[in-house]
């Protein structure tokens, strides 16, 4: 009984540590709500760490071209992500026209994009750190950086 308890504690501890590691980079949240009747409603919350880890298992030839394209802009992307990570939270872009409202906000280490148009509302929240890791992973697929 004591042994079972120890094994159970071991599993619980491992699960807790794994959970903490997986959620350490935050979560990607994608929510799409189609406004028409019978429209699709999707709400997806994924640990951000999964993206760069998953990209490691994607065969290089699928990412090579994307990697080469990304590498040209890597200094700018790196600077932008690092600059965004360091700057305070707040609204960055807000566009309103008669049909559509788009906003880009930095909030708690994530970039949050909201789009509201007559057909659908879309909400995407992506942690900056995970974005950097994913872009680095894609860029490295195009050969050594």
């Amino acid at each position: 009984m004591l042994l079972l308890g120890k094994i159970g504690l071991g599993f619980l501890g491992t699960a807790l540590v794994a959970g903490a590691v997986v959620s350490s980079e935050g979560f990607i949240h994608v929510k799409v709500h189609e406004k028409q009747t019978n429209g699709t409603h999707i709400s997806l919350v994924v640990p951000a760490m999964i993206v760069p880890v998953t990209l490691k298992f994607v065969p290089n030839h699928y990412l090579a071209e994307g990697g080469r394209n990304v590498r040209r802009y890597l200094p700018v992307i790196d600077a932008a992500i690092s600059g965004l990570a360091d700057c305070p939270d707040g609204p960055l872009v807000d566009v309103t026209d008669p049909d559509e409202h788009v906003s880009v906000v930095k909030s708690g280490g994530s970039i949050v994009v909201d789009v509201d148009d007559p057909d659908e509302t879309v909400h995407v929240s992506v942690p900056l750190h995970a974005t950097q890791s994913a872009i680095d992973e894609i860029a490295s697929a195009g050969g050594p950086i």
Binding site: G83, D86, T96
Partner: protein
């Protein structure tokens, strides 16, 4: 109690002195009441300061914009700026044409450009803090040093840089320490 108060006061002043300076923002606001379009952009200057030097595309390289077509005809821009800086406030250039009025002046440490396009009914006001203008021209007569200008903007006080008004829309570009445009 008497001894602890001065210590607390010193600690408070030290905290204020050591506190990070407030983030400065470049705001762009476009309002088109006719088309009912509104655009708000708030760019932290620290972000611009990091991103601009990383862009090496077209005429923008290492935080500087090449202005190869601009001919200074041997005029030392830096000396010109120094001379204008030490000159008293006043109007330096006034051009009045049937369709356009242009006025360039120096006022309260700022360079001010007013353009009125009478045909397009467009009015443009540009106000550049003197330090920013000098920073822009700090890389010689063939380049505009955008990176230095952004650094100078961070030190400048709250100010409206550009306003453009025409029949259908108004555009305002300004800097302050607020993270929203409204």
């Amino acid at each position: 109690m008497k001894t602890i108060l001065p210590v607390l006061a010193v600690l408070c002043m030290g905290t204020v002195a050591l506190a990070a300076p407030a983030e400065r923002y470049l705001h762009v606001k476009v309002d088109d009441p006719v088309g009912r379009e509104h655009v708000r952009v708030n760019i932290p200057l620290s972000l611009a300061e990091k991103v601009i030097p990383a862009i090496n595309q077209g005429q923008l390289r290492d935080g500087k914009v090449e202005i190869g077509e601009f001919h200074a005809n041997g005029v030392d821009l830096k000396m010109l700026f120094d001379a204008v800086q030490s000159a008293p406030d006043g109007e330096f250039v006034t051009v009045q044409e049937p369709d356009t009025d242009v006025r360039v002046a120096k006022s309260n440490g700022k360079m001010i450009v007013h353009v009125i396009d009478k045909e397009g009914k467009e009015k443009v006001d540009v106000t550049i803090p003197w330090e920013v203008a000098q920073a822009l021209a700090s890389s010689g007569d063939k380049q505009l040093n955008v990176e230095a200008a952004i650094q100078a903007l961070e030190r400048a006080g709250d100010t409206t840089l550009v306003t453009v008004t025409d029949n259908s829309q108004t555009i305002r570009v300004w800097i302050d320490s607020r993270n929203t445009s409204d």
